[in-house]
Amino acid sequence: MRRGPLVRLSRVSPYLTVGGVVLAGVILFVAAMGVRLILAPRAPTAAKLTTYECGVDPVGEGWAQTNVRYFLYAFLYVVFAVDAVYLFPWATVIRSSELGLASLVEMGIFLGVVLVGLAHAARRGLLRWV
């Protein structure tokens, strides 16, 4: 009995799958913007293009500065989220014979560096609930 398309799909290169997903995304975007181009009415008057400020003329510049203390959110984000991104692909190779041990040592160094940052944040009391 032929095992047909199911077997053929598993032989498809994973890069082809990723390419297919990217292509689907691009097609979706182009289709949406294209439909907008052929359907949407547009009337760009001067008043319509002014900056929104609750119905009055906008004053001042559009640039607003945030306080530098919020850098701590970026710092904790790097510690938790960016390093999680590197942990996921490591999980796929840790059991392989040629990469497993080497990757363990390398990831140990990487996690050590990240943990120094986390320890600093803990010492500063940043991990206590605000």
């Binding site: 052929i38 949407a40 009337a43 760009p44 008057t45 319509k48 002014t50 929104y52 009055v56």
Partner: protein, 194 residues
């Protein structure tokens, strides 16, 4: 130049029916609540007289995300400029419901020194909902009437150009403001300035 996309202009009737169907059941309302009628509008958006079941999503964050503007309440002369500016900032296609007698024609303040007698002096209105204040069911009927109106409409480049013809694209201030010139200083005045 204002224009409508090709498909909208030259589409056969069945396509226009489908597009009108999509447009009338996906209105996002920019509530311009000014006075007591705003309370009735909020009541119409709540559980008992829900207008979300008509497809109208309430409380758009701003004019740029809205296609229906419900002017509910008394329009004072001071507020008139803001109403005009916010209507201008809404993207096409846009609709206006005038809710309550103050927005229709000034209502009980028909003789006041500072009330704009009817929001249709500022912006084109599609549906008028009379009442002081109208019941929430009246707003529901107004929305249904607007949806019937949208079902029978046909967007075209000619219509949108007629809407923005001449000086209708600007409020009075924007038309007259560039006409002012700074007064020329005489030599003695210029000497005082420096």
């Amino acid at each position: 130049m204002p224009s409508v996309g090709l498909v909208n202009d030259d589409a056969p009737r069945p396509i226009k029916i489908v597009l009108n169907w999509g447009r009338r059941y996906s209105l996002w309302v920019f509530n311009f609540g000014l006075a007591c009628c705003a309370i009735e509008f909020i009541a119409a958006s709540m559980a008992r007289h829900d207008f979300i079941r008509l497809g109208v999503i309430p409380f758009a964050p701003g004019p740029r995300q809205a296609d229906l503007m419900v002017v509910s309440g008394t329009v004072s002369d001071k507020m008139a400029a803001a109403i005009r500016r916010l209507y201008d900032q809404m993207p096409e296609p846009k609709y206006v419901i005038s809710f309550g007698s103050c927005a229709n024609s000034g209502g009980p303040y028909w003789d006041s020194y500072c009330v704009t007698k009817g929001v249709d002096q500022l912006i084109p209105v599609d549906v008028y909902v009379p009442g002081c204040p109208p019941r929430p069911e009246a707003l529901l009927q107004g929305i249904i009437r607007l949806q019937e109106k949208i079902a029978s409409e046909s967007l075209s480049t000619k219509a949108i150009r007629a809407k923005y013809a001449g000086s209708r694209h600007a409020a009075a201030g924007e038309v007259t403001r560039p006409l002012l010139t700074k007064p020329q200083l005489t030599a003695s005045q210029a000497g005082d300035q420096s």
